[in-house]
Structure formats: structure tokens, C-alpha cells
Symmetry: C3
Subunit: 255 residues, 3 copies
């Protein structure tokens, strides 16, 4: 809690695209000079009640936030949130892999922007090349062939005659490659995917990916807390658009 | 009309994130050097016919535009539009409160960016701290308890088992606090909310918030004119996605 | 293929908003220093297999990409992609007109940002004023009055009582003016429109505009390949949200 309060100044970063080691972020005083109310909501509610709430670990909150900012093209403050993620226990390797993952799930240029922000953070922290996930890992995660066969035949049947190129790339690049990379635990990979989907209003894919996240170990309580956290970074409307879909997923997994 | 034409140069602001007092925005000549047609549409249609049309006051047009740009993360030109809003009768206090409001409705980082732009405008105009809405106002607006009870029990029943955190924050932070702050008239608060929703394609929430806006005094004629205005800043597709929902709201309130 | 590889360094442009002649884009090495895997996917898959795939011409790929980046507010790397578009056979006049077109279909400020990027590219390439499309062309394209009457009466009947201003501007500015401008072939104008719609998740308008694109000469094979290309720039979720709609359009035009 004390650490969060101390970091609040850095995390608001309301100035133009601050880079970790060079430009100090605009202080909370700038925010107070425009809106004392928003300053108070930020300090007391967002960095107080929300980040301090134990329903979700600081590490998960950092993964959710970083994924939401990258997916929403919000590079302002991203370097600070990446830096804070490392404080919260996300490794540089996991951040690297999160950016790689989001290239596919949030558009290539958003990942390029995120890589620029991460390059500064990594340099400032002295992250070396051997700490990063390899382009071609020696071992991939074990594949659940049955689950993948089911996914692939569903997509092939439904969309093969729409774009075989999309169907093939989805199989070869995403589900037989990206998702099998060991640099991010499947549960965390699912968490950043769901965050990106909700933060950009892609509710149509939430059913598949939230189910996958929960199959990968995300609990219902964590998913509930993630919605409350994301409301601040994605805006309330994206959360209320996602809630009916999340409700359906929760209901379908019960009883 | 003459004032609008004179301001056109400043409002196009096609250069990178211009700040009020430092970097002059790229002149209309730069736009003309890329597209004489877009220069003409901007000058004649957008700043001529649209901003000059009396179906909506310049003050409302400024509120709509500022909300759309903030919600869409479009910081380029935002300082100029904030400055122009003050010319059109939006007070610094109202702009401050609009930014605070949109933190919740358009994502925290968009409000942080907007605060950075507003800080420059406020400094250039010599806005002092005592002109800004207090973090904790002495008096809140009177609450319509019946309307709020209805909203809360609907949300609680529907989404309580999805995320009690979202349901609680929505009640405590939004409807018993933010919406009750006196710094922005409920009708104007609704106007910027509806603008943000339409400008970011969140049509699912338009039914609730357009009804609320009209309950708060927005006329059908103003809502119609707002759509025509927003088409330029949000893009035609967002307007055509919103129109069926707006139609339903209009129809449901008639006869 | 060799040219694509040589351009890869410039096209990743992961640094902050690079401008053609001044700031060299961050080299691929920066990307490799954050994610060797993303570097490999970019080099081998995106700039290798995708851009090199003959199912779609490099010119079409450039039009699709430029439209997606503009519509998604992604100015990072945009100057490089505009420059590369000229290499691939898109004329400065066509880029100018694409930006003009997207002001209406992706929001005015996105076009303003794109104009700033294009101004640099045009200056570096020595593009002169007489190469640009005139604000008021001597000859407009022939209008298919029957098709336009049908569109207009559908929109008038459905939305006239929602916002006559939108209905009128849609007819006067878009379908009797913008779409009739000769500076961009109708098939290409449709291509950038469909790209912008898919890249920003406006699937509701894809049915109308993909049908129009195919009426204007876009083949089913090209549309399929466009989806596979756009997946990288718009993110997989936007493609999977568009596919059911594209499927319906394809199905409705067969048999």
C-alpha cells in the first residue's frame, strides 16, 4: 500500500510519452492543477482501493493493465506501468512475451509501440539478451491435441471458404506456435488476451478466451476482480458490454 | 461564422500534439499541400456549414467534440479544441469536470492525456485553482432516490454474481458520487457521456444514456444535430451504427 | 521479396512517430532487444510470407495497410508505410485521396494526423501541387442513379426522423460527391473503406461496403487475402469478428 502511494506520481504520467530513464513523468501536481477531483479519484480510489485490493495479486493487476494499455494504443504512461510490472513480479521475459503475444491479438503496430517503451525500461534495468525468450525455444509446451483438433476443425469448417489464409495462419502461427511457447504460462497468456479483448470491446471473442483462461486456471473470483480493475483502464462502457458475455461463461461452467 | 473561419487554421492542428502556448499548429497550408479537397471540406463544410449550423449551439458542439476526441485518444488538436471550447462558453471548471467524468467513461489514461493538454490551456488562460471544481464539493446535486434504486437493483440482480466489485464501484463512485457532482449540469454530463459512447462505438450503452440525457433535458432536435456533428469527428460508420439505437430511443419516448 | 527484406528495418519503425526525412526509424535491432520472437515473426512471417504472398498485389497490400493504420490512429510508422506505398505503385494523388476519404470514414482528426505524415513523405519525394487531386475536379465519375436512389431512399426512410442532417450530409457530401471523385478508382475506394471498417471493428457496415467493393471489381480471392493480411495490422480479433459477415456476403453472392 505504501509503495503504491509512493508510485502514484510516476504512474499517472500525464505528460507526453515519458521514457523511463529520460523524461520524468508529469507530477501529480499537474493533474491536481486541472482536476483536484480526478487527482483524488486517482490517489484514493485507483491507486488506493483498487490496486490495494487483495482480490487480485499486484502481479495480475500489472499484467491486466499493461495488456489493456498496449491493446488500446495508449503509450502514455506505458513505460511506467511496464516498470511497475517488474516491481510486481512480472519478469522481463514475461513482458517481452506479452508484447509478442499482443502483436497478434491487438495489431502489429501496437506491439511495435510497446517494444519501444519496453526497450527503455529494459535498458534502464540492465536486462540482457539471455534473459529474453528465444525466437525458437528448445521445448514447446505440450499440446492438447484433442482440444486443438476441435478448435481447428470448427474454424476450418466455418471459415475455410471465407479465408483459408486466416484459417491456416491461425493454426500455424497462433495455436501450434505462439500459444505453445513456454515464456508465458498459459493462464497468464489467457489473462492478457482476455484483458486485450475486453479493453478494446471485442466481446465476440470473450466467450472462447475466457473459457480457455478458466481451463488454464483462472478462477471465477480472479475474473470478477479483473473486471473491476479493468473498468478504470478500459472505461466503464467496455466492462458493461463484456459483463453479459462473462455472465454466460460463468453460468455455462456451473451446475 | 467569421470567428469560425478565423479559427480554422488553429483548429486543424495537423502537426504532432501541439501545445497551446508553445508550438503553433500546422497551418491550413500544410493540409492543402496534401489534399486540396480535404482542405476545402474542412474549411467549407466542417468549419462552415457544420459548426455554423444553428441547430446546435457552439457550446454544445464544443462539448461534443472535446468528449469525442478525449474518448478516441485523439490528443492531436485537443488543446486547440479545449481552447475553442472556452471561447464558446464552456468554463474551465466544466472542462475540468468533463475530463474527470471521462476518466470513468473512456478509460483513465485518456483522461490523463486530456489533463496534460488542459494544463497548457489553463496555464495560458491564467485559470486559478479556486476556479476548479473541488474534490469534495460542499453540496452535491439532489439525488432522485427512486431512479437510482431502480438502476442499482437492476444492475445488482443482473451482474452481482458476475462482479460485485464492478456493481459496487458503479454505485459508490459513479451514480452516488460522480454523477451527483454539481460542476457539470446533468444534461451536459449526459451529453459528453453520449458523445463518448457514440464516438467509440459503445452502442450497447446508448439506450440507457440517451434516455438519461433526454430525461435531463436534451431535446430530440439537439440529439439529431449532435449525430450530424459527431459524424465528422467519430467517422460516419460510428454514426450509422448508433442510428438504429437512437431511433429506438426516440420511438420509445413517443406516443 | 529481396526489396521487402531490405525495407523491413524501415517498416517496423518502432520509435516514436518517425518522419520520413528527419528521424530514422528505430532499427530492427531495437525490436530484437525486446523480443527476438517478435523480430522473427516480423521478418519471416509478416514481411516474408505475408507481404510476399502473391494472392494480393503489393499495391493492394499497401492500400489496405495504410487505411488500417490511419483508421486505427496508429501514426507510428505511418510515414514509412506511406512511403512504401509509393514504391508499390500507389500514386501520391491516390494517397492524398485515401486520406480525404478516410476523414469521413475514420474521423476527421485521424485524417489530420495522416496528412501531417503524408506532408513529410510528399516533401521528401518532391510531390508538387499539380500532382494532387483538385478540390473540385472538372469531371466526376458517372453516377449509377438507380443504385444511388435505392440507397438514399432506404436511408431516408429508415433514418430521416432520427437525423435528417446525417441523411442529407451522407447523400450530398459522401455519395454524390466524395465517392464520385475520380482521384481513386471505385474499387480502390471500396478497398480502403472495407479495410478501415474491419480494422476498427465496424462490422455492421461491412455488408454494405463489401458488396459495393465486389460490385466495383474486388474479387472474392482478393477479399479473402485481404483478411489474412489485415489480421496482422488490425489484430486477429477484428478479423474473427468480421469473418461471419464476410461469409454472409460471399454466400449471398453465390448460387
Amino acid at each position: 500500500m505504501r509503495k503504491i502511494a509512493a508510485l502514484a506520481g510516476a504512474l499517472t504520467a500525464i505528460g507526453p510519452a515519458a521514457h523511463a530513464q529520460e523524461t520524468p513523468p508529469a507530477p501529480m501536481e499537474t493533474l491536481a492543477a486541472v482536476s483536484p477531483a480526478l487527482h483524488a479519484y486517482t490517489q484514493d480510489d485507483l491507486f488506493g482501493s483498487v490496486w490495494g485490493n487483495e482480490s487480485l495479486s499486484p502481479r495480475d493487476r500489472s499484467l491486466l493493465t499493461v495488456a489493456a494499455l498496449i491493446a488500446r494504443s495508449e503509450s502514455e504512461g506505458l513505460a511506467q506501468y511496464l516498470d511497475y510490472a517488474v516491481d510486481n513480479g512480472v519478469t522481463a521475459a514475461e513482458l517481452s512475451e506479452t508484447i509478442t503475444h499482443l502483436a497478434f491479438y491487438a495489431g502489429w503496430q501496437n506491439a511495435m509501440k510497446a517494444a519501444a517503451a519496453a526497450a527503455d525500461v529494459f535498458a534502464a534495468r540492465g536486462v540482457t539478451a539471455d534473459e529474453l525468450p528465444a525466437a525458437e525455444p528448445a521445448d514447446m509446451l505440450p499440446l492438447d491435441q484433442e482440444v486443438e483438433d476441435q478448435r481447428q476443425s470448427f474454424v476450418q469448417e466455418r471459415f475455410g471458404n471465407v479465408s483459408q489464409g486466416v484459417v491456416d495462419n491461425t493454426e500455424q502461427l497462433l495455436f501450434l506456435d505462439l500459444w505453445q511457447r513456454p515464456a508465458l504460462a498459459p493462464r497468464d497468456r489467457s489473462l492478457v488476451t482476455v484483458s486485450a479483448l475486453i479493453a478494446t470491446g471485442k466481446v465476440e471473442q470473450v466467450t472462447f478466451h475466457l473459457n480457455r483462461a478458466m481451463d488454464n486456471g483462472l478462477t471465477k473470483e480472479e475474473a470478477s476482480a479483473a473486471l473491476a480493475h479493468l473498468a478504470f483502464y478500459a472505461g466503464w462502457p467496455n466492462i458493461f458490454s463484456a459483463m453479459p458475455v462473462v455472465k454466460e461463461v460463468f453460468d455455462s461452467r456451473e451446475g
